[in-house]
């Protein structure tokens, strides 16, 4: 986790510094790539350029990192790549999730299993691990790619090792196999498990491995210490799909072959054959250490490359006004004083926009200026909705209206005011550089208070909605059972009496699952989270039931107050205030809550625990670089502990986000228990990434190695920042290509 701290303090998002910063962090978007087959006949699809196609991207080793079999390579994955690796040989199983967070930094989270180990009191020994990889050198025509890696560098660490590796790729001439063959040659030096066989020298002493520590802390006193050994190998790819690997492994497998008897290591040489089934899946079969067969399933995806490209129904062309000289009557502004005209125009807008999933909330109109307030029900790209509203305004409003203000809303709060001139809309639509020109012409400003003359969409309130849907609640890394899962159905409903007000609730019925089999809590702190297995023993529960109001108390300010049964384990009062200017990368928020712990049956009672706590945080949010969102919170947590949480998420402009967080509080590692402090990774994926159809729904989860009681926060529905960020300048700017779609 300390690695995140080496990120620089970023400057302002706009201005000349922004480009240099973007290059440094994301090195530009070099997304146009070569043809599928350079020898294909011109005019065939195979000869045409492609976008973000990396056929030569690294294959994965058994640790889910770029590499051979047990040995890593010097390569990095394309920016944003997500890899899932499942490997197994001779009783050694590894299940890894990797993420290329930036072009030069990658992180992995892994679960290891050692079958029949009878080690440290476990029949099958399970272990978690984190890796970090830094690409020191990008491959060029002359120089190899070089990576420095920390393998299994946090936690109890049975496969801790550090390395520096270099890989050079050579294109092969066209052969009978095809035109796209290549050869990758890798060499490196390893410490730790990677320096345990054939070591050539030593750097200091490495502390012994201790299976009974609480773990969770960086083992920096052992990095690059002790004996080190060379390793290397070759990957020959006769075609894009087929790969043949040979490696010399410097891992002696002391734990699996000497401390225990999981398999026998007869030779340092490993062999493998891999085949790319499709763009996402690569399968490999191997002969390892002269004694064992193994396999590796490698799954790769990239959040930037949708499984199905989003196809949004074509918009209606912009209706161009007649020249005022040929049709002066149409340009008359005599209607401007009328009371009947605004509601009629509002109804016309509703008719055009409602079928497109855009709810018109209000229209304010004068002779030359109009403002439409709307909420976006369907289009994930918010910018797509902005473009749709602009087209609808050009279609419906009288010619004299020249200035369009477009105001996206969420839960009754106006979030932004995007301004465009109607003439620009008419002129730019078919220009070759329409997107870049729009970027320059759209104005963003703080929305004013709703005008008393606005024609409101009176049909919207009161409104009742409900949904019946399945839910899945997983828990990971129980030593007895790596994955536990509850599955059930949820009925949720929301009643909105007026803009900004909501009364919401959710009932759950568990169909089946095994969360309730989790280990009983041994926590010495108040059991604010660690009794989750007890809470899972009840089938019919009330997940939440609350009333909330959110509103704009002033310019750049957003506020929320919520009261009721807020979440599974707590109920009470929650208040929040957020400052976030439309054009600023910085947001500041403060949240104050007073809550009591709910009974385990999750109905109406609070008596079982008799635990009340005041909890709250001040939070700074900062967006920078190629979609990085940093958050720092300080305050009081549910167990009454004081401390701070730092998180860093890589956000993509299609709604994907992947990040990590950790929390340090005044609870000591001993009081906290296993893991020493709270930390985890989380991701969120938009459903349209898979379906290719417009939708704002997302799915996601947070994975924590273990749930304890220190550093735990309240889960309040309807927090402000996510609602606000999605419609502010940076988010919209980054999706500007959707304006004209």
């Amino acid at each position: 986790m300390t690695a995140f701290l080496i990120l620089p303090v970023a400057g302002a998002l706009s201005g000349p510094g922004a480009m240099a910063q973007a290059r440094w962090l994301g090195e530009g978007l070099n997304t146009v790539t070569g043809p599928v087959d350079p020898m294909a006949a011109p005019g065939t699809p195979e000869a045409a350029p492609t976008i973000f196609r990396y056929p030569g991207r690294p294959s994965l080793n058994f640790y889910g990192a770029p590499g051979l079999m047990d040995m890593p390579s010097g390569e990095a994955q394309p920016d944003g790549q997500i890899d899932v690796g499942v490997s197994w040989f001779g009783g050694v199983g590894r299940y890894t999730l990797s993420f290329q967070a930036l072009p030069w930094i990658a992180a992995s989270f892994r679960y290891n299993s050692l079958a029949n180990a009878n080690f440290a009191g476990f029949e099958t020994y399970y272990d978690r691990g984190f890796d970090l990889r830094f690409r020191l050198l990008k491959e060029t025509d002359r120089l190899p790619a070089v990576t420095l890696g920390l393998q299994d560098f946090i936690g109890t660490g049975i496969s801790s090792g550090e390395y520096i590796a270099a890989t050079k790729t050579f294109a092969l001439p066209p052969s009978r196999f095809g035109n796209t063959g290549s050869l990758k040659v890798t060499g490196g030096l390893g410490w730790g498990v990677l320096g345990s066989f054939g070591s050539i020298a030593s750097t200091g002493t490495r502390p012994a491995y201790n299976p009974n520590s609480t773990g969770g802390q960086a083992d920096y006193d052992s990095w690059f210490r002790g004996p080190f050994a060379p390793f290397g190998g070759i990957e020959w790819r006769p075609t894009e799909k087929l790969g043949i690997k040979v490696e010399y492994s410097s891992d002696d497998y002391v734990l699996a072959t000497q401390d225990t008897n999981v398999f026998e290591r007869k030779s340092p040489i490993n062999f493998g054959v891999e085949y790319q089934i499709n763009d996402a899946i690569r399968l490999g079969g191997y002969y390892m250490y002269g004694s064992e067969f193994g396999f590796n399933i490698q799954i790769q995806a990239n959040p930037r490359v949708p499984a199905t490209p989003l196809a949004i129904p074509a918009p209606q062309p912009v209706l161009v006004r007649q020249d005022p000289r040929t049709d002066p009557e149409a340009w008359s502004t005599a209607w401007a004083g009328s009371r009947e005209v605004p509601p009629a125009l509002r109804d016309n807008l509703i008719e055009v926009l409602d079928p497109q999933g855009i709810t018109v909330e209000a229209l304010t109109i004068s002779a030359h200026v109009a403002e439409v307030r709307y909420s976006n029900r369907r289009y994930w790209p918010q910018m797509g909705a902005v473009g749709r509203v602009a087209r609808a305004m050009a279609q419906v409003l009288p010619p004299s209206v020249e200035t369009f203000h477009i105001v996206p809303q969420s839960g009754g709060m106006a979030l932004n005011r995007i301004t465009i001139r109607r003439s620009d809309l008419e002129v730019l639509e078919y220009e070759p550089d329409a997107t870049a020109a729009t970027d320059a012409l759209l104005g963003y400003s703080a929305p004013p208070q709703l005008s008393p003359d606005a024609a409101l969409n009176t049909g919207l309130y009161p409104r009742f909605t409900y949904a019946l849907q399945p839910y899945f609640e997983p828990s990971y890394f129980d030593p007895d059972k790596p994955i536990r899962l509850d599955v059930g159905i949820e009925l949720n409903g929301a009643y909105r009496p007026a803009p900004g007000w909501i009364v919401g609730g959710a009932l759950r019925y568990k169909l089946f699952g095994d969360l309730d089999g989790g280990r009983p809590s041994n926590s010495v702190l108040p059991h604010v989270r660690s009794d989750w297995a007890e809470y899972a023993k009840y089938d019919f529960t009330m997940r939440n039931l609350y009333a909330a109001r959110q509103w704009r108390p002033g310019r750049d300010l957003y506020a929320r107050a919520t009261v009721g049964y807020l979440e599974q384990m707590f109920g009470g009062v929650s208040t929040e205030l957020l400052w976030k200017p439309v054009n600023s990368p910085l947001g500041l928020g403060i949240e104050a809550n007073y809550v009591a712990q709910r009974d385990q049956d999750q109905l109406f009672g609070f008596g079982q625990y008799d635990y009340e706590v005041a909890t709250g945080h001040a939070t700074a949010y900062y967006e920078f670089g190629p979609g990085l969102l940093a958050q720092f919170s300080a305050g009081r947590y549910l167990a009454g502990d004081w401390g701070g949480t730092f998180s860093l998420d890589r956000t993509f402009d299609n709604g994907w986000s992947i990040g990590a967080f950790f929390t340090i509080t005044n609870v000591s590692a001993e009081e906290f228990g296993e893991g020493s402090f709270d930390k985890g990774i989380r991701f969120s994926m938009p459903v349209n990434w898979i379906l290719g159809q417009p939708s704002r729904q997302t799915v996601g989860t947070t994975i924590t190695p273990i749930t304890r009681d220190g550093g735990q926060r309240l889960n309040v529905p309807g927090r402000l920042y996510p609602q606000v960020r999605a419609a502010h300048r940076k988010a919209l700017d980054d999706q500007s290509v959707r304006f004209w779609q």
Binding site: A48, L310, A314, Y430, A434, D653, G692, Q735
Partner: protein
């Protein structure tokens, strides 16, 4: 009439529903025209499946003669899906923007649109991985003058996570000489122009068959990006 959107399986039921709901944002088409169009579209939809190709009612000039207005047929090579398209918007001269000419937005009933400037593709919408905007480039000049030429051409695609991906091509247009082509029983004397564009080792070839007396492009085959691939256009009417 339904373009199957790449990567999406669109059941025949949806096609049927879209036909029932067929309507146009232009009020000037007669219902008879719409009905004929619907029948043609049904035929074209069936034609997507090769097994049923033999059973489809033939597209004849006699049928086309009953239609008022301009229609084109577009086919996405990759998916084999075809669509009959009507004019959803037209702009001429200065109103068509800095590159001028006659700009037509062609649309299908299932909300796909393709925009051609003097027959040169400059935009697609509703297919995914769309061509957001483009220069007509040397092809536009060549089609207008019915002669060879060369120059740069910029296309902007919507790809990845809502990003504009710019492709800057270097192009040359060759005049392949006169050719007579037949579109549904009607012969057209044309000049065959071929635009070859290069970028990052990749090559794109666009073909235009321009009326030998101009300005109509009766047939063309144009690249619409890595996701959509090549699209062929045939001007059916008038």
């Amino acid at each position: 009439m339904m373009f199957a959107k790449p990567g999406l399986l669109r059941p025949a039921l949806l096609a049927a529903l879209a036909l029932l709901a067929a309507c146009s944002n232009r009020g000037d088409e007669t219902s008879a025209t719409l009905k004929t169009l619907a029948a043609l579209q049904a035929a074209a939809t069936r034609a997507v499946s090769p097994d049923e190709a033999a059973a489809q009612p033939p597209l004849t000039r006699a049928v086309l003669n009953t239609i008022d207005g301009e229609f084109i047929q577009a086919e996405i090579e990759k998916t084999g899906s075809r669509a009959f398209m009507y004019i959803s918007a037209e702009r001429n001269g200065q109103a068509a923007g800095s590159e001028g000419g006659r700009l037509l937005v062609w649309r299908t009933e299932n909300d796909v649109s393709l925009t051609l400037r003097d027959g040169v593709l400059i935009e697609t919408r509703g297919l995914g991985g769309d061509l957001v905007s483009a220069e007509g480039g040397p092809a536009l000049a060549a089609v207008r003058s019915r002669s060879a030429g060369q120059g740069a051409k910029r296309q902007v695609y919507s790809a990845l996570d809502n990003k504009p991906v710019v492709m800057n091509f270097v192009c040359a247009v060759d005049d392949l000489g006169p050719e007579t082509i037949v579109i549904v029983e009607r012969r057209h004397a044309t000049r065959h122009l071929r635009e070859t564009c290069e970028l990052k080792g990749g090559t794109v070839v666009n073909d235009y068959w321009v009326d030998s007396r101009g300005p109509t492009v009766w047939r063309s085959r144009q690249w619409a990006g890595p996701n959509i691939g090549y699209v062929t256009f045939r001007q059916l009417t008038p």
